[in-house]
Subunit: 394 residues, 2 copies
Amino acid sequence: MQVDSQRFLKDLHRLRRFGAQGPGVVRPAYSEPDVAARAWLADQMRDAGLRVEVDAMGNLFGLADGPSILLGSHSDSQPTGGWLDGALGVIAALEIARAAGGGVSVVSFQDEEGRFGVTTGSAVWSGNLAQDKADGLEDHAGQSLAEARRAMADMVTGPVDPAQFTGYIEMHIEQGPYLEANNEQIGVVEHIVGIRDMVITMVGQQNHAGTMPMHLRQDAFQALSAFNTALNDRLRNVVTPSTVWTIGHVSLSPNASSIVPGQVRFSMQWRDGEGDRLVRMEKIIRDLAEEIAAERNMTLSFGPMLGLEPVQMDARLRGALEGAAEVEAPGKWRVMPSGALHDATNLSRLMPVAMLFVPSIGGISHAFEEDTAEEDLVAGLRVMARAVDQLRVG
Amino acid sequence: MQVDSQRFLKDLHRLRRFGAQGPGVVRPAYSEPDVAARAWLADQMRDAGLRVEVDAMGNLFGLADGPSILLGSHSDSQPTGGWLDGALGVIAALEIARAAGGGVSVVSFQDEEGRFGVTTGSAVWSGNLAQDKADGLEDHAGQSLAEARRAMADMVTGPVDPAQFTGYIEMHIEQGPYLEANNEQIGVVEHIVGIRDMVITMVGQQNHAGTMPMHLRQDAFQALSAFNTALNDRLRNVVTPSTVWTIGHVSLSPNASSIVPGQVRFSMQWRDGEGDRLVRMEKIIRDLAEEIAAERNMTLSFGPMLGLEPVQMDARLRGALEGAAEVEAPGKWRVMPSGALHDATNLSRLMPVAMLFVPSIGGISHAFEEDTAEEDLVAGLRVMARAVDQLRVG
């Protein structure tokens, strides 16, 4: 097939206009610009000869006749999002479906960015999340998903049967610095990392910061600080260079300069491609927190743990992407993990899935400044098109 | 002179009723219960033969004729305060003035607890803070001091001349654990510690917590954590057992579990009885923060520094308290610093000052549970009365 890179770039920039703000976009799920963008996408799908269907969640499909491979991503954005996150995968899919003239379907999942949950649209479609449970989810302003999705009620046609798809390939920006740092154009994903996330609370004793001597304090911030320093050391022997762990949220109480903090609640998140390693890390984290709390005579509690297992990419789909990358970007591609979650995680329950990445300039995403060189966008398009061609033959 | 410990305890409990909430009090400066308590105190002062005067700030004086020694503290409370903080020093002063029958004046300063500033009433009276500057201060609800002090306008008589006082003695609860832990009844204060307080901001790079590898992160929380751990080590060689330092406020940005925090603002406070040591500590803190920021390629900024110098207690007044303590509580008293600020800090500009402490059960204060054994309250009263007697003779 022959993709048209100029048409592809032009469509990417047309999608960028919906919710445009400076170089970025503000197009959260079910917002006016999001619904308008989906209506425009539906028109493009129809023009490409695809049958448009929209499920109750607002997941937008452009369907080829008969069995087909599904390509796509999402067209909703972060509250202050970049122009390529999700949009790239959707427009690349559209261009390839157009060029293929059959056998390729397109999807833009709804609420991948989690206004209401985590990859909410594909979670419901894949059966990971029940619609009635999803409907009860609320955004930060307290609006329920059930209310919000009324904005798309006119477009809904009904359920879309996953059995018609032979697999799913998602192209996405890397959202990290590896490809750019290594002067590479394509990342073929080997797995989407698993994730663990929990809130840890340590309770000591709130005191006057002038009158309570250091050796008698049960200072919650000192405890957290000791925990963090020791954790970095203890994890060294267990992790790989792509393992990550993050304390991103810290809430001290009472959080006043003249009061020894009596309590800290903090988030502890870790990600890795191997489920076993996630378990080993969990044990280190829990044991260390227990030790620190016991040493300092503090009370410790662990919140519920969010756990998503690592997802392996399908060998056949991934092989097709690797073969195509070697043709289109010889010596300028690598196999790599995805540290971020994607709709592909949910779809792996239903069908073979694979992903490819193009570089993010400066590793920046979830920000207006997010960008990728045009030649890299086009390289990604060509790799995915070539892989789809091969899979259709094979 | 012969103090009446039963009358003293009865008055303490009568004052406790103004703004009572459970075992504690809610009697912030200029609130209805605070003004009512001051009106009641004024009546007690008049009954004790004192001349009542109230300055524009609402500082309430009961004045003896001619030169006198000033005793007292404050009767406003923390937003959720204990029943003895301030109240003890005022009621003890009242009882001693009654028992002395002359030569002893009484004061209840306004807003010691800092609804608007820091020891605001005595700061203005002592000339540390201009009235028009104080009037512009606002509480957390945005009300100005100028508005708030109208609640006492009816009681104001005019300025009170500090020249009539030969010295100031303030009795207070310790608000710390030392006396109780050592089974002692009286602390004679040697100095009120100096304090330094500033906000430090470190700016790194906000990133996706899944896609940014550890070795490329500029994580603001990791920087703070490393700073804190190293600071504890570096201060060891400089501090004494009574030196304290506190990170009580921490504000991460954006403070989300899936985002590598790009910025942290935190409070750094340190206190010591020696001005030189405060300066040495400042250098260690600033140098270390610079080092940490440079190592991690982060931006560092220091906010304005609040600085109050240590205040030495007057040798003669302190000697009188020590002599009286040895008579009233032989072997059960100690010389100690005050880690908390008090009105005496401001008054040291105007006249000789001294302070004595009684134990705080569990070291607790600024909380409803604040309490002191009755026999310790009475011991404090007797020590201060004996010291005043000796100073009048001497």
